[in-house]
């Protein structure tokens, strides 16, 4: 992998490691993501994708190693890191008992947007995500795709340099999925946002991501552009072949029970 000048890197992880008791969930992970890139983290359940995201978003301290996000050290300057990122967790975190507008207002306050700018930013975000007509409805009446777009709107409200999305299209139907992809591409085009996603979805990896890293048992087994990874395995190789080759077999490898239960719950809520 070519090294990129570090001031052009949105995300830089060096030997990032996290252990839970005896289990090493993330093992000396190296990542370099330049500004403006859409980067995918792939891997089977339990490969360490979510743990990497949690460390990069300052939710979980690493056991060893370090990382910089937006030029700030995740351990020494977590506050600065939080200011320049947006995060959408795998779970559906929008509040169903509030309207779309109220959810956005809450985010605006969390991110300390000045009062004068709030309503303009919220209106922009609602327009951008195609939710302007539903802004005054309770979120529990939204479809799964609408909730995901609302969460994207919440995460982009403060115009972060870097967006972290944990399985952004899990449980969505194909149309809703494509809408989310289009919005992410728009965000990159309009604001130059860097996007890091985790996914199991090979179509998402191939059509949305500029580059991918495949994780296997906490280690990065390969990094590259989707087309390069495919051609590296010979003519006619598909993304599924790439995944099977680098992620240690298909998705049968067991994830933790709680993780599977959580994913099912998310899917059920998306209905």
């Amino acid at each position: 992998m070519n090294t990129i000048a570090s001031d052009r890197l949105a995300i830089k992880a060096s030997e990032l490691t996290r252990q839970f008791g005896r289990l090493t969930a993330v093992d000396h992970v190296e990542l370099q993501v330049p500004y403006g890139e859409i980067f995918g983290l792939l891997g089977a359940n339990g490969a360490g994708k979510s743990t990497v995201i949690k460390m990069l978003t300052t939710l979980l301290p690493p056991t060893s190693g370090s990382a910089e996000v937006g030029g700030f050290d995740i351990i020494k300057s977590p506050g600065e890191v939080r200011r320049c990122i947006g995060y959408v967790s795998q779970l559906l975190s929008a509040d169903g008992a509030l309207t779309g507008y109220e959810n956005l207002l809450l985010s605006a306050k969390l991110y300390g947007l000045p009062k004068a700018e709030r309503s303009v930013r919220i209106a922009d975000a609602l327009d951008f995500m195609g939710l302007a007509d539903s802004a005054r409805k309770l979120v529990k009446t939204y479809s799964g795709g609408m909730i995901r777009r609302l969460e994207l709107a919440q995460a982009m409200l403060h115009r972060p340099a870097i967006l972290f999305l944990d399985e952004p299209t899990i449980g969505l139907d194909p149309v809703a999925r494509h809408t989310v992809w289009d919005r992410l591409l728009d965000l990159r085009r309009d604001y130059g946002m860097t996007v890091l996603i985790t996914t199991h979805d090979m179509e998402e990896a191939e059509t949305l991501c500029d580059r991918l890293a495949i994780l296997h048992r906490g280690r990065v087994s390969v990094v590259g552009k989707p087309a390069e990874l495919r051609s590296g395995l010979g003519a006619g190789a598909t993304m599924n072949d790439v995944f099977a080759h680098y992620a240690g077999g298909l998705i049968h490898e067991s994830g933790a029970f709680s993780e599977v239960a959580q994913t099912r719950r998310t899917v059920r809520r998306l209905g």
Binding site: K54, S107, F164
Partner: protein, 245 residues
């Protein structure tokens, strides 16, 4: 914080269901024991004696299960969203306590209505009422923050329910809520004296009831409550981020 208020206004069923228990305590338990005259409460009627105790109980019970909501927020990913934002951890934790405080105020107003309907002699001077509302906020803040700390430690709803049940009844009975401290056996009195609920009730007894006796003095009551609250907040601010791990 505002979020909680909006929800409360949109769905007041919770408020109504929470009002049932104090009604039972005051109307049934209070009236029956007042007939027995087995507990010496000085010049106060037994019903007047336990009214502040039941108010404190309702503050305790409504905020001690606050942790369930926190665990629910964790399961939904709301906690992760909050903690990945630049909002200060202390503001997030304090905001939760204030939100619980507003619920406590609503509870207090409900108990006032019940007590008035039962012709308990309530102090209606504005200063006393403001002080009672202050107690309600502080008490709710204390127990909600305590509950948040338990939630951070146990992390699942099932375990939380077990521990919540285990804590509330002993806290209630080992306090001066429904009998005065001086009729307790010595060991129980010691426990009651380190129970923050006792100081909340002591302050409330003087402030809510005409002729109610404040034993420790308001200065001591508020000093104890503020100290306990401050310590709990410090612990909660340290533990709250572990919920997203």
């Amino acid at each position: 914080m505002e979020v909680e208020l909006i929800k409360l206004v949109r769905d007041p069923t919770e408020l109504i269901s929470r009002a049932v228990q104090p009604v039972l305590w005051l109307v049934v338990f209070g009236q029956v024991l007042a007939q027995v005259r087995g507990i010496h409460t000085g010049h106060l009627s037994y019903l007047a004696f336990i009214t502040p105790g039941i108010l404190a109980q309702s503050i305790l019970f409504s905020s001690i299960f606050y942790g369930i909501a926190i665990i629910w927020e964790r399961d939904l990913g709301v906690v992760h969203k909050l903690l990945a934002s630049p909002a200060r951890r202390s503001s997030l934790v304090f905001g939760k306590a204030v939100a619980a405080g507003f619920r406590g105020i609503v509870q207090t107003l409900v108990i006032y209505l019940i007590a008035l309907a039962m012709q308990v002699s309530i102090r209606l001077d504005p200063l006393a009422i403001v002080a009672v509302l202050g107690c309600a906020m502080l008490g709710s803040g204390i127990f909600a923050t305590f509950s948040l700390i338990i939630a951070c430690i146990v992390k699942t709803r099932e375990r939380f329910m077990g521990i919540g049940q285990l804590l509330t009844m002993p806290m209630f009975f080992a306090s001066n809520a429904i009998y005065p401290l001086d009729i307790m056996p010595g060991w129980l009195r010691v426990i009651a004296q380190i129970n923050p609920l006792t100081y909340l009730i002591d302050a409330l007894r003087g402030l809510v009831i005409t002729g109610g006796e404040n034993i420790y003095g308001y200065g001591v009551d508020f000093a104890v409550m503020l100290t306990v609250f401050a310590v709990l907040l410090l612990v909660a601010v340290r533990l709250y981020p572990t919920l997203a791990e």
